[in-house]
């Protein structure tokens, strides 16, 4: 008679879906690190052009935009905490807040880009190329996150989540927080230093 060894029977396996999201985010780190390195090297090789470029950026505005994104991350945490305690309206309200703040962040970025375009700072300039690439790809990630949040909101409205079943919210949260971390780094590297 063959029996499973006790140590095998009681080994707790990691959640594969969650592990997959973490692996995806690990790849995203490499992706964004490469983009940021390109921007840093371009800056180092063209310091005067970068200083001229940075003079067109409005740091307080982007500081507010950064605060908006951090607040949206906090709302995701609140939403997850709410659903873990069976608070369905709490989940819906916080996810709705994430959607609004995400859209506000993109609006702020669009406002910044329009200002740069008005001052004839285009995508083809030596600093403009890496700047618009990095911030544009990050903005695309925010946009994808907003679509994901809308999907989560629709599911939440249909009662798909509960105190025992909320992995969808948790996985979305991991993605959204990662996008927040990337912006924290970009805000420092591009705007502040």
């Amino acid at each position: 008679m063959s029996e499973m060894p006790p140590q095998t029977a009681f080994v707790e396996q990691p959640d594969n879906t969650k592990l997959a999201i973490w692996l995806f985010l690990g790849g995203e780190i490499v992706f964004f690190a490469t983009l940021i390195l390109t921007l840093v090297f371009t800056r180092l090789s063209h310091p005067s052009e970068f200083h001229e470029f940075i003079s067109h950026l409005t740091i307080p505005l982007i500081g507010v935009n950064t605060f908006v994104l951090i607040t949206s991350s906090f709302l995701v945490v609140r939403g997850l905490e709410a659903v873990r305690q069976g608070d369905q309206p709490g989940l819906r309200n916080n996810i709705l807040g994430v959607i609004v703040l995400g859209a506000l962040f993109l609006g702020g970025q669009a406002y910044e880009w329009m200002g740069l375009f008005r001052e004839n700072i285009g995508v083809k300039s030596i600093i403009g190329t890496p700047f618009f690439t990095v911030t544009g790809i990050h903005g695309t990630h925010v946009f994808v996150g907003i679509i994901w949040a809308i999907y989560i909101l629709v599911l939440a409205t249909r009662g798909a989540f509960s105190d025992r079943r909320h992995q969808g919210v948790e996985l979305f949260g991991l993605y959204w927080h990662f996008v927040d971390i990337v912006w924290i780094v970009l805000f420092t590297v591009i705007y502040l230093i």
Binding site: G27, V30, A33, T66, V77, Q85, L192, I193
Partner: protein, 94 residues
């Protein structure tokens, strides 16, 4: 993954982390107007602390299984050259 007392205890920590992130962001904007020799190391430390706070608390890495940390750490190794360039090379160039 049902609600339990340990999760309920985390709530104040989340609020404190959010307040810290907001304060650090405001400090960063203020520090950005200082000389490069001062602002670069301060900004690197502040943004690093902010990123770690989000990862540890908002992404639950502090409380979750250790296996989820590894993909993140492997990716972070790539960031080391960026930090070195920003902290070592850039202050000499600017």
């Amino acid at each position: 993954m049902s609600a339990n007392p340990s999760q309920a205890r985390l709530r104040p920590a989340f609020h404190l982390v959010f307040i810290a992130l907001a304060i650090f962001t405001a400090v960063e904007v203020g520090v950005s107007y200082l000389a490069p020799a001062i602002k670069i190391p301060v900004l690197i430390i502040l943004s690093g602390v902010k990123a770690v706070l989000v990862a540890l608390y908002f992404m639950h890495l502090k409380f979750d299984r250790r296996i989820y940390v590894w993909p993140f750490l492997i990716g972070l190794v790539v960031i080391i050259p960026i930090v070195l360039i920003l902290t070592v090379v850039m202050p000499k160039v600017l």
